[in-house]
Amino acid sequence: MERKIQFKVFKFNPSIEVTPTWRVYEVEVDRGTTVLDALLKIKEEQDPSLAIRYSCRQAICGSCGMMINGKQRLACFTRVLELNSKIIYVEPLSNYPIIRDLVTDFSELFSKERSVKPYIIRDDVEEMSNPTGMYLQKPDELLSYLQFADCIECGLCSSACPTVSTDRLFLSPMVLNKAYRFSADSRDSGLVHRLPVIDSEHGCWRCHFAAACSSVCPKGVDPAKSIQLLKRMITSTNIFKKSRKRIVEISSRPHVTLSFP
């Protein structure tokens, strides 16, 4: 059964406008219609100028984050009728600069992410550059970071974080979660290289554990938890003066060609 729902959508083009406006659109929705479907319908039938960012339409790419009825959500993962409201307010994510309408600028967030070296770093440089096999991991080693590896980088957590809204240099929950995800990986020994950034004045210690980030995460990542685990990891590294050195078995795979031309 179709129902008419009113959408109040934030419209703003900072390059030519001084103040934002709210436009009202009416859309017919059914129980399967997501907010993204409705916005695309508005774009196709009523306002082709509406700017939206999206790609996968299935909560994988992390592109369509926006404020829906005042809360950070993925537009493609939010069914309109689930919101149980006659008027749906749609705004760009808070805590990010606006590019246009519902599209926000993540470049600062991604440069913070690069600063924590979000990749496996190993001490055995020779093995890294000329791998002789694959790194084996026990199931419990995998489980120690698996939940935190589910992050799709949608940035909803960083938008909900009260510290990000006051301290623009704070690394943010998404980035700190990424730092923990790799530092907790048994194949990684890169914590010491990440410390200058994550253990700084605007690093993980500025998180006050209000857990607003975890409450909006669409993938159940729980960045508030990974940040507390990161604090514990740093503290024990400082006290025992050595990073947790993990030895991961390297199993050779003769059937795989590992030499490159």
Binding site: T166, D167, L195, E201, H202, W205, R206, N238
Partner: protein, 104 residues
């Protein structure tokens, strides 16, 4: 100093305030335990109380200020200003404690 070290000291001083503050409250309010004030360790505990309260309070203030005024330069200015303030207050507080307990 690394931020983690500053925060670790922050948590430890929080705990120390609880203990030394409790000693002070008990010794000042329970008639049966007033003798604590006459032990030589009492002035030491009050000295620890002074140092830990100052560190904990000023570091808490630093955390609030670096969040409200983010910036690498402002962070340094805030830290050093509070450090100097802390040293001055500690010297003054120690002077008061010495006069207080020195008379006995």
């Amino acid at each position: 100093m690394r931020e983690s070290t500053k925060m670790l000291i922050h948590y430890i001083t929080g705990f120390a305030i609880l203990i030394t503050g409790a000693i002070h409250l008990i010794a000042s309010n329970l008639k049966t335990l007033e003798w604590i004030k006459t032990t030589p360790l009492y002035p030491v505990s009050q000295g620890i109380f002074l140092a830990t309260v100052l560190y904990h309070a000023l570091n808490g203030l630093r955390v609030i200020l670096v969040e409200l005024m983010p910036g690498y330069r402002s962070g340094k200015i805030i830290s050093y200003t509070l450090l100097i303030l802390g040293v001055i207050l500690f010297v003054f507080g120690s002077y008061v404690l010495i006069i207080l307990f020195g008379e006995r």
